[in-house]
């Protein structure tokens, strides 16, 4: 089957800054595909090129079989976009915002009205239909933007950091909605710098750093490949950690010393904790957990995702 998106050596340059540095990826229909990376990795630049709102600087890009450079309007009419910033019309009601957006796609008013009913139901904002955007919480605004992005029943739904800046509860509501979309078979592209978001929502993802793709795979396979097993996190009182570098590094083949804590990668967390105590190290807190995509990122780049 031909992929919905195919990027080859895709590049974006701003002046002398290379924001996206020759990346290759493919997204298949029905897939939920993620771009995980820290701020400045080039995620938004990539989304804008896919969304035909930013011309590519190099390489090749085909989206829904179309060339964003020449088929921009046709392509955009089949996409749904949730931009990183909300950009709703704050003075208008939820309904007016959705109606206005639907009309950009030349849908009939009756058709849009029907769609609004469904979508408000879907994003659980039925009772906010006539509320002005400026009266809504951040999480509700985000849900309106999601409804807006779905107004034209897109063949591909692009979400740029859908939950950044939201409180945990609002994030979980959004994840639940996005998970529903994924189950309905909508092709999703999600960028995020939250590893738990990527783990929850993405079938497959690429890890981006400094404009490049550093790894690709399913969340599970990435963890198995780059950070298998478990992690023991040790926190020490301020200043103590620096003096313990070599002692901690000798505990296991793979360790990471961060500003505030040390991570020890292991097959067996309990045994490692035992060794830590035997060695006479006295951490403030000890935490054993399964490794995550955060550990994968750390392994690949030596840095954490969220500073």
């Amino acid at each position: 089957m031909t992929p919905l998106i195919k990027a080859t050596k895709l590049t974006k340059v701003f002046g002398d800054l290379t924001a996206v540095d020759g990346i290759d990826f493919e997204v298949a229909e029905g897939e939920s595909f993620g771009f995980l990376g820290p701020n400045g990795a080039g995620k938004t630049s990539t989304m804008k090129m896919i969304g035909a709102t930013s011309p590519i600087s190099g390489g090749e890009l085909s989206v829904l079989g179309l060339d964003p450079a020449t088929d921009g309007p046709t392509l955009r009419s089949r996409l749904g976009v949730v931009p990183q910033e909300n950009n709703l019309d704050e003075e208008l009601s939820v309904q007016d915002n959705l109606m206005m957006y639907g009309r950009y796609f030349d849908m009939s008013r009756a058709e849009i009205r029907e769609r609004i009913d469904e979508l408000l139901e879907f994003v659980q904002l039925v009772e906010k239909r006539n509320a002005k955007i400026q009266t809504l919480s951040g999480g509700m605004k985000r849900r309106v933007v999601i409804a807006r992005g779905l107004i034209n029943e897109p063949d591909l739904f692009i979400l740029d950091e859908p939950t950044t800046g939201l409180d945990p509860q609002a994030r979980h509501v959004l994840w639940d909605r996005l998970y529903r979309l994924k189950q309905q078979g909508v092709t999703l592209i999600i960028t995020t710098h939250y590893m738990d978001e990527a783990e929850q929502l993405c079938d497959r993802l690429v890890i981006m750093d400094k404009g490049r793709i550093v790894a690709e795979g399913s969340p599970r396979s990435l963890i198995d490949e780059y950070a298998p097993g478990e992690v023991v996190e040790l926190r020490f009182p301020g200043g103590v950690l620096e003096t313990l570098n070599s002692r901690i590094e000798s505990l296991a083949p793979r360790t990471e010393i961060l500003a505030d804590r040390a991570l020890i990668y292991t097959e067996d967390a309990e045994r490692t904790i035992g060794i830590v105590t035997e060695t006479g190290l006295e951490p403030e807190t000890v935490l054993a957990r399964r490794s995550t995509l955060e550990d994968v990122f750390l392994r690949l780049t030596g840095r954490t995702l969220v500073e």
Binding site: F14, K48, G51, T53, S54, P55, G72, P73, T74, R76, S77, L79, V81, P83, E85, N87, L88, D89, E90, E91, L92, S93, D96, M99, M100, Y101, R103, Y104, F105, D106
Partner: protein, 258 residues
């Protein structure tokens, strides 16, 4: 058949206006009443007393009415090209939102100019009705005088938008209104003939759209022929609309679709 992209933008602007018109409608009525009362009736009585033959053969109020109609349309056009554009690009970023839909830069600019011109029409119709109420000119002539006013308003929509889309921050706009719009309002022949200006300033007044609009509008409202051949003035105003409209495209494209 598919609706042209610019008309989709026009409709969106109309939808926003339908929800927000209350803020501006009072001033649309009040402005002409205040101007006509203060300048026309108050100041006019003094002017008329000093000039038995009238200005260009008519009373000051009669002289002023078409002029201020045009000057007011100019100001309306300038505001439409300023704050809404700033908001669309920098504050609410609703213009970015449009560009993620099938709307492109050209449709965005054209729709914006269409709608803003429609706003100039609304404001000018109200103005003309007030003029008619002051019994300066019959309603029909007042309404006909709107034509040039709308051209001037549209010219200023284009020109102001072309300026605003190049701004990096908002502070440029108050400067623009103080040093471009206000002088153009006062010195382009709306309140007194530009022959009263110092010689070196007259050519400056001559290149403003307001001057051409005022001459056309005045000749329609109170008769006589305009100082510049009518079709030259119309062509000049159209050139502003199209020319400045075109030069909006590049900076907007750079800013909104980098």
């Amino acid at each position: 058949m598919a609706t042209p992209l610019s008309l989709r933008v026009f409709e969106a602007e109309a939808r926003v206006y339908r929800r927000t018109w209350r803020g501006s409608v009072v001033s649309s009525f009040l402005n002409p009443v205040l101007y006509m009362a203060a300048m026309g009736v108050g100041l006019g009585a003094l002017v008329d007393a000093n000039m038995p033959g009238g200005i260009e053969g008519v009373s000051y109020l009669t002289f002023l009415a078409p002029g201020i109609l045009v000057a007011n349309a100019m100001q309306t056009g300038a505001s439409e090209g300023a704050w809404k554009v700033m908001g669309g690009i920098h504050w609410a970023k609703t213009w970015q939102a449009r560009l993620a839909s099938p709307i492109g830069i050209e449709g965005l600019v054209l729709g914006h100019i269409f709608w803003s011109t429609a706003r100039v029409v609304m404001v000018s119709v109200i103005f003309a009705a007030v003029i008619a109420a002051f019994q300066v000119a019959p309603l029909l002539e007042s309404l006909l005088a709107i034509g040039p006013a709308v051209l001037v308003g549209a010219a200023m929509v284009s020109a102001t938008t072309a300026f605003t889309v190049r701004l990096k921050e908002i502070s440029g706009l108050p400067m623009y209104f103080r040093f471009v719009v206000l002088p153009m309002f006062l010195f382009s022949g709306a309140f007194f003939p530009i022959s009263q200006l110092p010689n070196w300033l007259q050519p400056v007044a001559l290149i403003t759209p307001v001057y051409h609009g005022v001459e056309l509008s005045r000749s329609i409202a109170i008769g006589g022929s305009p100082a510049v051949t009518w079709w030259v003035s119309i062509a000049y105003l159209l050139a502003w609309i199209v020319g400045f409209g075109l030069v909006c495209v590049r900076p907007l494209r750079k800013r909104l679709t980098p």
